[in-house]
Symmetry: C2
Subunit: 669 residues, 2 copies
């Protein structure tokens, strides 16, 4: 046990006066009592704000009481319990009091006379007040038929400065009597119960309730109504709502309504930056929300966070010195909700050269609006631009662990401009390629819809940039089988990378047809597979890039990510024997520890090889090594080019034929 002694708790300001005897301080503040004799009010030495600091997942004191009133059977407790669940899920501490529970304890010595009812409500109000004072949202659901009693409850809270919201759950007597879940109305009608509210005892509806719920609302709708109300009242922070749903996705494409104005503004602009294909692909990544909630190309602040910590820690615009004031504070903070740091191992920047920098700067400030264009067409707007140094060697070293120009990702950086242009982006319209496979290009929000329509209760993603052999298919089937132990309907997002790849990779269009053939031949179930294209360009950044591959898919609502051996790896260009640039286990290791990837299950990729005895691809079994043959990419290419067929069971024949045709066609060229 850690030592507990005087010094352990020394930061406590001792409530003991140094000279006085010991336990009782004569100097504590007291308010004079106005009611009982010999009793003085003691102020708690811990204040509300301090208590709030250790309560819940949101800053600030949010203690209050929500008082549900209405007839028996109106649904008060149902809504209250559902609200308790929603608030808890949102990280807002709350506690539900209801007539039935309290009647067994605090108020068990009370009956149902008017006086007892009043005392019942009074006691409950006092307890609700204590919970509110403790910083919790107290939910009280009581018939509380008499106005005077409810008004007293409000007064009790008002006296301590605690918000009190009277919510009238308005259901007509007929409806409640028809529901009559506990046969109370029936008994009352038969005279077996006396003093039943609505039958032989009055219900006085609130004259000016803070909120009214109607009996036609479902519990869900009613909870939403209350939550909306609580947001308006400042009790529930807006960003907390997001914890009830998957994180909202920020798309940077404008709405059809906004498009004409943006198009006109773009056409009128003096300043323009031309994008190349890879930059266009990054623009698409940003536009569709794969890097949500990033607002555009990174400013220096996000760039340094990504490069040094592999994370997006916040969306503040300016990278200020400690103590420095933001000279552009009028731009305001970015207010998109961001629930803690997010993994962002890869900087997403737009680079420019010194000439462009000079063109885009006036009087030492970046011009206010810049058009981004691709192949002569203005496709996006960049506002509130910031230009900062693109220290290419340093970036390359930190991002790739290498500055070898023979590495294609490194080469792109070293050959890029020496400045970065960060800023807020608006994209005019969906980015498409007219290459016959646009129909496989879905945004994260579209994928969420598709997956919801398939009734997915778990989504696992397979990132790939290579043809699928039967070993891959086996792995995906096995992953699904494993998920079926916990989930009802796990769906595979088969998500080939669709952006730039190096020349010797198989082209996207061929891969898509190959993947379709694999599904057609039944190696992946068409009912549990969604084939879609991931728009990001490839980096060959190993452990750094695999994090990006996983993180981007979170936007599509993915729960599990299958990680392979040497993910996003590449041969070390400095190695004559073709050694991998990255230690082949680092990708999975780093991914499994990466901060800012919470809620994503990492599924290890087990190695599959051709089982020569079974004549099929199988999970490699090291106890009978000799039975297995590893068919490398090089070998596969060789077979395809020379018109040979691979061993039976290596790849679905239709899928193989697509690949073989491709390799033959390039062999001819």
């Amino acid at each position: 046990m850690a030592p507990i002694n005087g010094s352990t708790v020394s930061p406590l300001p001792s409530p003991v006066s140094k000279n006085g005897p010991s336990l009782t301080s004569p100097t504590r503040k007291r308010k004079p009592s106005t009611i009982a004799t010999n009793v003085t009010m003691m102020e708690h030495s811990v204040g509300r704000e301090q208590r709030a600091g250790v309560l819940g997942q949101h800053e600030g004191f949010r203690g209050c009481t929500i008082w549900f009133t209405g007839l028996s059977g109106a649904g008060k407790t149902t809504v209250s319990f559902a609200l308790e669940k929603a608030l808890t899920q949102m990280g807002i501490p709350c506690y539900g009091l209801d007539g039935d529970n309290v009647r067994h304890g605090l108020c068990k010595n009370l009956g149902f006379s008017k006086e007892d009812r009043a005392e019942n409500i009074r006691r409950v109000a006092e307890v609700a007040k204590l919970f509110a004072d403790a910083g919790m949202v107290s939910l009280a659901s009581f018939i509380s038929p008499f106005r005077a009693d409810r008004d007293s409850a409000r007064e009790i809270h008002k006296a301590l400065g605690l918000p009190f919201f009277e919510v009238y759950v308005n259901a007509p007597l007929e409806v409640c009597e028809e529901r009559d879940p506990r046969d109370l109305y029936k008994k009352a009608r038969k005279g077996q119960i006396q003093g039943m509210t609505g039958i032989d005892s009055a219900y006085e509806p609130p004259l000016s309730p803070d909120l009214v719920l109607h009996h036609k609302e479902t519990a869900l709708e009613a909870v939403n109504t209350v939550l909306e109300f609580l947001v308006r009242q400042g009790i529930v922070p807006e960003e907390a709502l997001s914890s009830l749903a998957p994180a909202p996705i920020r798309e940077l494409t404008v709405t059809p309504e906004e498009k004409p104005a943006l198009a006109a503004e773009l056409a009128s602009l003096e300043h323009e930056v031309q994008l190349d294909l890879v930059e266009l692909q990054w623009l698409q990544v940003l536009a569709e929300g794969w890097a949500s909630p990033l607002y555009g190309f990174m400013r220096e602040r996000q760039y340094l966070q990504s490069l040094h910590f592999g994370q997006m820690l916040d969306l503040k615009r300016k990278c200020l010195f400690p103590g420095e004031e933001d000279p552009n504070a009028e731009d305001g903070e970015d207010t998109f909700p961001m629930d803690g740091p997010l993994n962002q191992s890869v900087p997403i920047v737009l680079t420019i050269d010194a000439d462009e920098k000079a063109r885009l700067t006036k009087d030492g400030r970046v011009v206010s609006a810049i058009a981004l264009s691709y192949e002569g067409k203005r496709i996006a707007m960049l506002r509130k631009g910031e230009i900062f140094e693109h220290r290419r060697k340093e970036r390359s070293a930190r991002q790739f662990g290498s500055i070898d120009e023979r590495h294609p990702g490194v080469a792109q950086i070293l050959n890029a401009g020496e400045f970065c242009l960060g800023g807020d982006i608006e994209v005019l319209e969906r980015i498409t390629y007219n290459d016959g496979i646009d129909k496989f290009r879905f945004t994260p929000i579209e994928l969420r819809k598709i997956l919801a329509e398939k009734n997915a209760d778990a989504v696992f993603v397979f990132q790939l940039r290579n043809p699928i052999h039967n070993g891959h298919a086996l792995l995906m089937r096995e992953t699904r089988a494993k998920l079926l132990e916990k989930y009802r309907n796990p769906i595979l997002l088969l998500h080939p990378l669709g952006g730039w790849t190096k020349d010797d990779d198989v082209p996207l269009e061929v891969r898509i047809r190959q993947h379709e053939a694999v599904i057609e031949e039944g190696l992946l179930g068409a009912d549990w597979t969604v084939l879609s294209i991931f728009p990001s360009p490839m980096l060959y950044g190993g452990p750094t890039e695999v994090q990006w591959h996983a993180r981007a898919r979170l936007a599509a609502g993915v729960h599990a990510y299958i990680v392979g051996r040497d993910p996003a790896g590449i041969a070390d260009p400095a190695s004559e024997s073709g050694d991998a640039l990255y230690e082949v286990t680092h990708g999975a290791k780093v991914l499994s520890m990466a901060p800012g990837l919470s809620h994503l299950e990492i599924v290890p990729f087990r190695v599959a090889a051709y089982d020569k005895k079974a004549h099929q691809m199988a999970m490699f079994d090291p106890t009978r090594k000799a039975d297995f043959e590893f068919i490398s990419g090089t070998k596969m290419r060789g077979l395809a080019r020379s018109g040979q067929t691979p061993p039976d069971g290596f790849m679905a024949p239709k899928a193989w034929n697509i690949l073989a045709a491709y390799y033959k066609s390039i062999a001819k060229q």
Copy 2:
């Protein structure tokens, strides 16, 4: 406002049956009532564990009631309030109920008759139970003189499976009567009050209280007694205690009692690794706890965390693939308390070459114990060793953003062994250098004591590896003046880096004498300055290293860190014009955003220059640029070597003479 609609809250399992009317579900579980009629018990749909999930800073449900009983004036409420403060500080949600507060609300309709007293206690017990059920620690402080009432309170909790602890605050009547903070005893003696417990009403002391507090304990001691008890009861997690004190420091040096056994074991060992001076300095860093709670030289897990995320995310030993089992699980987890991720931008590793790896490995496993020696003396033990690849170029690239061998830090890595040996370290004894300045070498724990003895209520650190000119001193005085606005006694930790530096830096021993002279001449107040040596070697790692410089000082209890322009910077060896390798503002920017450095205030270093008009060093004023002269290190060295004196007011004369003598001595060589 974020849209709120049905789908927003869709993860909520709807409590509404699809066919039934709407708000009231007829299927909710009910327990039959045993007491009142027409009342059924409703189970909360949110369970205790779920509620606990959004309460406080520690996992798990810890709801309970602590019931303080004792005479009026015994100190119940004083202890209860102090405990409430301590628990809040520890992140444990709690709420204090006391007789005085409750008497004004919940129980205002009760008097002091035996019956009313019983009902008072019953109601309070019911409320305390609700708070405990909500997951909070309820603190109830009531005279509660009658055993039967207290026993009922316990029963009420027991019935719901909630812990109830009766704490007897035992103060004799004489003591309470002497204290008599509210003159109640006096009034009772005069007959002005009836039914005063201890006077004309009985107090029945608990027969078997869960805990007894004695009146001779101070409130602080009493709180500690209760906290110890709550740790034993599993209510307060042990690690929470640490939040009452500065984070505990893990030293790796064995105690004097353990030393002989370790020395004997070291002498008997077959396997040994020789350390060089820089490795010795890192061992000292580890031994003294500057990288606390790191247990020794990093294993691959910590190494990858440091390299990729600049943090120590956990202290788990093995870097496992997702889903993989640890084959050495018998080694157990490292259990030193770690309160969230800590900044650790610099890997601390021990490198070995392939021959050493072969020597230290038997049957594919690292030998269980390895002696570490320096200059032929065995000084430390490494256990549970793990050997992993030291990918030197990649590390250098990621750590320094450079792989230029002309950079001294890069060169050290590129010339090091190709493997790392991680493992748990025990150091035989304090590492000293017998260089005449060991007396300035304090461990973090020693510094905490020294700072506490100086009654520091804030500590600001100045990291340096250069002589102090009057501009530096001005900055430190200004920083102190600023802190004096908030603190009573801010102390400066003047903390020159004492490990390896490159050849053209001024040697440590000369710097220390120079610093002493600056203090002697009164440019820094001797009463508010602690001069000590930071044992770390220098890396020249810019924004990466400045984080280490700040993070290490947290161990010494530092609150504020002064960060300069281009901290830990160096000229780019590839630049002919001597450009800085790192963008000069990145250090301060990255440091100000760095995760895992909470509670450390970053103070920006303003530039000081020689004010030719005022004949003294002053904060540079850009509005009268021409008045200022920047005196570079090169210029200073030139003056010193040639026997010239710098401008008046540039440096304290005594301090200048020490420096001049040094430069003259090396010019001779």
